[in-house]
Symmetry: C2
Subunit: 335 residues, 2 copies
DNA sequence: CTGAAAGCGCTTACAG
DNA sequence: CTGAAAGCGCTTACAG
């Protein structure tokens, strides 16, 4: 694989490298005949631009980083996919960075910025708590997707999310309407600046409003994986058996919980009602289909790209709230 | 975010940029006191190396590309995850590129090569057919993971996979042993240089050996998604109802098929036995647990990294076959 | 052990 | 519309 540079193209076409550069970057100030000649030479030699060299010289490139934290989270990976698809249509060039839950995404962005001089960043699954300062110091357009970042100061910061607190309250309201009062919570309570934590804080408020004392014994922590949620559900079953509904803070957690219930001989929803959260594809295809609060991921993806584009044009950041949709499915029933 | 360069560090520490460069790259020929001073300056200024500039100058970096084709394929994304984890321990720096099923991965690699001067590539989910030449022309160590590439010429090419043909035959043997003779095939027959196609060619051989005439009407094509497999299973059910076993060429396809069967009022395995392929986590957590042929993904990941490392040290490529493991689970039963 | 200097492949004012 | 030249931030022989 011999490396073809702009010099080779220039020699082949009999012009200077300046002209080649202008032609391959679609600058207007190039003669039509020259451009044609160029393209032929590029084609013939199989030239590909060395973007390292280009971005070293340019002070800004059109690269947009998508930083996805938590590669196990299917809702987020799906959202990332959609963002990538939509952005590509808008001619954005993406740099996808999938990082560990424990990694520091701002460190990642600073590194990417140095490497490629980013034009913007879309954050998925960020944990903002304790990183407010770092987020504010980034002076390129940032969009926090699926998490509300209204509390951050920074004209370049946007966010798009549902109102997780209300959504969690809503889910719980539905369960209470169906007659459930012993509701177990499976997932992560976290802080109220964390999207998943907010859901449970909303759930708690709903319970209290309905005169249900929230029982800490009915909460089990787990992360967004099948084994973890299966184990959490099993711990709960080992300890107590008097709940009749489970509110899982994501679909994947609900699916793990349903498996544990099944293994213990309980039927869903006959013995226990289960609701998830996110509204992923898997919720539709598990047996029974999972009741869930669907986040409008297509719309979320569109808005994320939209906000980023606006930011790149110099507009101020905005914080958009989207409407989730309750999916009443077969995993819950009236008591 | 002011950009700090090597010059700023040099000035801060009162040395030349050459020395800074050597210090930050852990070269041995730097005085201990100087190195210390350097690190302090780097720390103070928040310097991060501009890798564009570095790789422009260096003729080889330590970047390894992981090209994952088909982001929907959970077996592959899981395998990629493992490879990334193992490689990180071995100090490899990865460049993850997730591309569309329709995209050209060799074009992607050539681009990455130009951008970052790759030290090697791991391909996941490649379709080699019609791209033999391109693979052979890459003159950096390549590992094809989960697909056999023995038929390619190139000292730098390695591969690690199971014997998909035998595995497909084995799955079918099991079904026949259980008394099944009307076996439907769900997935993609493809060519025999394609890992999933091989499975069905193996299945066909098993059938023929057992005197079963393969009935094309019992084959439905779909890709590796839940909606696609659900639709394929539905088409099959619409057309024929006389099969009593389904061999899906991946777990995700099997799960979609089980949902369709369930919606049509059939029970698994009571009415229809279902087997998947891959042995992903989801197979364990669906209801009923899915019988499947497990690919040893942990071992596959280890071997992929091992082969890549060997290749980077100049060794010749190898083609390794791993042993899959049959998981006899609750989705199948004796007739 | 350290520094001055060349050069990696591009882009972009500046001339013409 | 085109070219010569400077320079982006690094690394690396080459001297010393």
């Amino acid at each position: 694989m011999k490396i073809v540079t702009i010099n080779d193209v220039a020699r082949e076409a009999g012009v200077s490298i300046s002209t080649v550069s202008r032609a391959i970057n679609n600058r207007p100030d190039v003669g039509e005949a020259t451009r044609k000649k160029m393209l032929k030479a590029v084609e013939k030699l199989g030239y590909i631009k060395n973007t390292s060299a280009a971005s070293l010289k340019q002070h800004q490139t059109d690269f947009v980083a998508v930083v996805l934290r938590g590669r196990r989270n299917i809702f987020l990976t799906d959202l990332a996919e959609r963002i990538l698809d939509i952005g590509k249509e808008k001619q954005l060039r993406f740099l996808t960075e999938i990082i560990d839950e424990k990694a520091d995404e701002f460190e990642t962005v600073r590194r990417l910025y140095r490497e490629r001089k980013l034009a913007g960043v879309i954050f998925l699954g960020s944990k903002l708590e304790g990183h407010e300062k770092e987020a504010e110091e980034l002076d390129i357009p940032c969009v926090f997707s699926s998490i509300e970042a209204k509390f951050l100061n920074g004209k370049h910061i946007s966010s798009v999310s549902i109102d997780n607190f209300s959504a969690g309250r809503e889910v719980t309201n539905r369960l209470v309407e169906l007659g459930h009062r012993k509701i177990a919570l499976l997932g992560y309570f976290g802080s109220i600046s964390d999207s998943t934590g907010l859901r449970f804080h909303g759930a708690k408020e709903s319970m209290e409003k309905h005169g249900i004392v929230f029982d800490k014994e009915l909460y089990e922590e787990c992360d967004f994986t099948l084994p973890s949620s299966y184990a959490a559900m099993s711990r709960l079953l080992m300890r107590r058996k008097d709940f009749i509904a489970v509110f899982a803070s994501s679909d994947i957690i609900a699916i793990g919980a349903m498996k544990a219930l099944n293994d213990w001989g309980f039927t869903v929803p006959g013995d226990v009602s289960v609701v998830g959260f996110d509204g992923t594809e898997q919720a539709d295809y598990c047996i029974p289909s999972l009741a869930t609060m669907r986040q409008p991921s297509e719309q979320m993806a569109h808005t994320s790209v939209e906000l980023l584009l606006e930011g790149m044009q110099g507009h101020e950041g905005k914080h958009v709230l989207l409407q989730p949709k309750w999916i009443e499915s077969k995993s819950i029933c009236k008591l």
